[in-house]
């Protein structure tokens, strides 16, 4: 404790650094508290969405903490060098590493205080808005751990690494460039370069932006802030890389031994492993101009592949049933058995969103069937009679996500094979064209997912559903289910207000009950993912991407004819 006190005093005893630190935290947290206070004044009955804004604001400071801690760590770890003490400390029994350890401990204690404070702020706010659930609590903890604790740890490792270089100018330039490269501005620059020169730096530069994505947009209430594995991989990659170089720099000046060499190699190996995981294809929820992971990706794809002459081609068979085993981790893996009403065709044409790669197609006897893929169209060659086909596929969609944090696979989106060649996208409106089957189909769906899923179908077991419908919706995440009179609502509980009894009344009154009867049906509210269609109407449910209150405003005059 004494050593810790002396180390802290040696650094923060400098009034300049103390003042800067206090002023920085004062401004950052003062701003955050002011914002939180303002949002907490909103009556809970009126609007629950304020909680998500508080969570967003509390995580936005991640970038500023990162830059500040690089600087403060650099100055802290450089202190003994600046004071001409390094040489003396290296000859003592505990050595210079002991000094570094205690300096790291100081940073760790500050980090812990910040993390705990933000956790407390978020938990209090969530309780205030009556939205605190175990799921949300875990979400808050993960956010704070990733965006605050891990990011500050990374920053202090950067600062430490820079302090080991004797040339100060190099360290200064590095701090400045890290600040620019890791900011949102850099994403805009990369977007500009892609648009003008066609220079695609996204794959390279995505790795630099380690802070919460989508901070410019309205939060996705059903999803929360992204704490997907790829974000952890990115931060851990940099952290292990940094620690590897630190280890390398520290052992260079001393007699090498096997354990130190092995530890360096291990650190670099962990970095490489995280890098590999980062680049594995997976469903992310990003809403910037990246051509790979966002809504924009679909527009780019279809602009390149569609000629403009596409028309729907009806199939000469009908699908009468689906048996689906869906496994959702970083991507969707599906094992779908389709039952068809015509067994003697030579060719069967299906449509499946191109983001899902078909692995195999087998007939009812398990024999392999040849197939080809042309964008969204799947053509299966059949040389035998079969009443059903088993299609396995996996992948993801940039817009309709299916990952470890949530699922948004709404009706209208072709995430399972449908018969015929269907035009899925409207390039003029930059949006998907909802597809709803003309017939009612039997669905039997099992979902291997660790969270509770919701569907339009009837639940038979945990994450198992069956029923008859002309479309399938699956959602999961920060959702709640509620039955009001005989209408079932599935909605993100972080949006809207606490006045849930108004749900049905609003929908009945405002969405034109004469045109669509929601008695005995489900209303599933999906996130606003830039869809242009407000509602998609299926036989047994309606999918809407606005809350009933938003719906009420939009739907007057826009309600679809049943």
């Amino acid at each position: 404790m004494k050593k810790l006190y002396l180390e802290a005093k040696a650094f923060f005893g400098n009034k300049g650094f103390l003042l800067i630190t206090v002023a920085f935290f004062g401004i950052i947290f003062g701003n955050l508290l002011k914002t939180t206070y303002t949002l907490l004044q909103i009556p809970v009955e009126e609007n629950r969405e304020a909680y998500m804004l508080i969570l967003s604001e509390s995580q936005k400071i991640s970038y500023f903490l990162f830059i500040f801690f690089i600087f403060i760590s650099y100055e802290l770890f450089y202190l003994s060098h600046k004071s001409n003490l390094n040489e003396t400390l290296k000859t003592t029994k505990k050595g210079i590493r002991n000094t570094y350890f205690y300096q790291y401990l100081i940073i760790f204690i500050i980090t812990a205080i910040i993390t705990v404070s933000l956790l407390a702020l978020n938990i209090y706010s969530a309780s205030h808005f009556k939205v605190l659930t175990t799921e949300l609590l875990v979400h808050i903890i993960l956010n704070c751990l990733l965006n605050i604790t891990l990011v500050i740890t990374l920053a202090s490792s950067f600062g430490f690494l820079l302090s080991l270089f004797s040339k100060k100018v190099f360290a200064y330039i590095s701090i400045v460039f890290i600040a620019f490269f890791s900011s949102e501005i850099f994403k805009d620059i990369v977007s500009t370069l892609l648009e003008g020169f066609g220079l695609d730096l996204y794959h390279l530069t995505d790795l630099f932006v380690i802070f919460p994505p989508n901070m410019k947009s309205v939060p996705i209430y059903a999803f929360g802030l992204s704490v997907l594995p790829y974000r952890w991989n990115a931060v851990l990659f940099w952290l292990f890389l940094c620690l590897g170089f630190i280890n390398l720099k520290l052992i260079r000046n001393r007699k090498k031994n096997i354990s130190k060499t092995v530890s360096t190699i291990l650190l670099f190996a962990f970095a490489v492993v995280n890098l590999c995981f980062y680049y594995t294809p997976q469903s992310k929820v990003i809403r910037d101009n990246s051509p790979y992971q966002t809504n924009f990706a679909d527009f780019i794809y279809y602009s390149a592949t569609y000629t403009g002459d596409e028309i729907n081609q009806k199939a000469d068979f009908n699908i009468t049933g689906y048996e689906m085993d869906l496994k959702i981790r970083n991507t969707l893996s599906a094992d779908v058995t389709v039952t068809i009403d015509k067994s003697d065709n030579e060719k069967y044409i299906f449509t499946l969103y191109h983001g899902y790669e078909v692995k195999s197609v087998t007939d009812e006897n398990g024999n392999s069937m040849a197939f080809t893929r042309d964008n969204d169209v799947l053509t299966v060659e059949s040389d035998s009679h079969t009443n059903s086909m088993r299609i396995t596929y996996s992948g993801y969609s940039p817009r309709y996500y299916s990952n470890l944090q949530g699922i948004c696979l709404p009706a209208g989106f072709v995430f399972y094979p449908v018969e015929g060649s269907v035009v899925l996208y409207d390039t003029e409106n930059q949006d998907f064209i909802p597809y709803i089957s003309e017939n009612l189909i039997n669905f039997d769906v099992n979902i291997d997912y660790y969270k509770n899923c919701f569907s339009n179908l009837k639940g038979t077991d945990t994450n198992s559903f069956e029923g008859k419908s002309n479309s399938l919706s699956i959602v999961s995440g920060l959702y709640k289910e509620m039955v009001v009179e005989d209408t079932r609502f599935v909605y993100p509980y972080l949006s809207g207000s606490n006045n849930e009894k108004n749900f049905r009344e609003l929908i009945i009154n405002e969405i034109n009950q004469k045109k669509y009867n929601i008695n005995g049906k489900s209303v599933i509210i999906t996130p606003n993912l830039n869809q242009s269609n407000i509602c998609v109407f299926a036989e047994d449910h309606i999918v809407a991407h606005k809350t009933p209150w938003g719906l009420a405003e939009e739907a007057n005059g826009n309600a679809k004819e049943e």
Binding site: L6, A10, T88
Partner: protein
């Protein structure tokens, strides 16, 4: 006892220490040499700061194989500083913790008193003068009764009174541990050290007591009026320009050749010059 065998240390193309061998006992050793002789490099190798080829053994054990906790040395480098925001006492407490010495058992007050900083005990180091910081550096080197103490230019910045105090401190360590003192002030070495080691170009040139070093210049040192400089024969090296009682300029020089002047008594400085210049 510390035994150095064939110690060699080079930095890229510069050979700083060149096959240096020596044995240190529990005595006080002075290290002399011109700038760039390799003194600091040698001391850093002894302190365990550099990798080297050759061998340095402390009580029969190679120091590079010793763990940090098995060595107990005091080290005062040439460029030395402190944390400006800590007080004198806190800084010594810091060093105690670094050296693995219990803060309570270490006699910090005695250390502070021995270097004459008792009235600055609770003052911040940033308020001390350069010389006072140096004295504090000496104090930290003495903490924990080390078996080897290395001083690199310890009296730089010290006033005459403090230099005397320092010499007394070093003399009091006689027989208790090995003390190696590197300095350019020959008189400090002459008055304090049991043995003097002279280095040049990374090599050991000679070693011995002050008398033995002085002997190297025996019958080679002359003191003549300056106007007679043109009468000097052969190669010579001017040590000093002085003046006599009347204020007349005089020249003190060493020369291998017999000169037509009377020699004067040689000092350690003369012996050092003769060793370095091969006179």
């Amino acid at each position: 006892m510390i035994t150095i065998s064939n110690l060699t240390k080079s930095f890229k193309k510069t050979l700083a220490v060149n096959h240096f061998s020596f044995e240190f006992d529990n005595k006080i050793y002075g290290l002399l040499g011109p700038n760039g002789a390799g003194k600091t490099t040698l001391l850093r190798c002894l302190a365990g700061l550099y990798d080297y080829t050759g061998s340095i053994k402390e009580n029969g054990k190679e120091i590079s194989a010793l763990k940090e906790q098995e060595r107990n040395i005091g080290y005062l480098p040439q460029k030395f500083g402190m944390f400006g925001q800590l007080t004198v006492k806190e800084m010594l407490q810091y060093f105690c913790l670094q050296k693995g010495i219990s803060v309570k058992s270490a006699d910090i007050e005695a250390c502070i008193k021995s270097v004459g900083l008792e009235d600055k005990t609770n003052k911040k180091i940033s308020t001390l003068s350069g010389g006072m910081v140096r004295r504090l550096g000496i104090a930290q080197a003495l903490l924990g009764k080390p078996s080897l103490i290395i001083f690199d230019e310890p009296t730089a910045g010290l006033d005459p009174e403090e230099r005397i105090r320092f010499k007394n401190i070093v003399k009091s360590l006689h027989g208790k541990c090995t003390v190696i003192l590197s300095t350019h002030i020959v008189s400090d070495i002459a008055s304090v050290c049991d043995e003097t080691i002279i280095m040049n170009d990374g090599k050991l040139i000679c070693c011995g007591t002050s008398e033995e070093i002085s002997q190297k210049a025996k019958n080679k040192v002359y003191l003549i009026p300056e106007e007679k400089q043109n009468l000097i024969k052969g190669k010579y090296y001017i040590i000093q320009n002085t003046s006599d009682e009347t204020g007349k300029s005089q020249l003190r020089f060493v020369s291998q050749e017999n000169q037509n002047f009377d020699t004067v008594e040689a000092t350690v400085e003369d012996g050092y010059i003769c060793s370095i210049k091969n006179i």
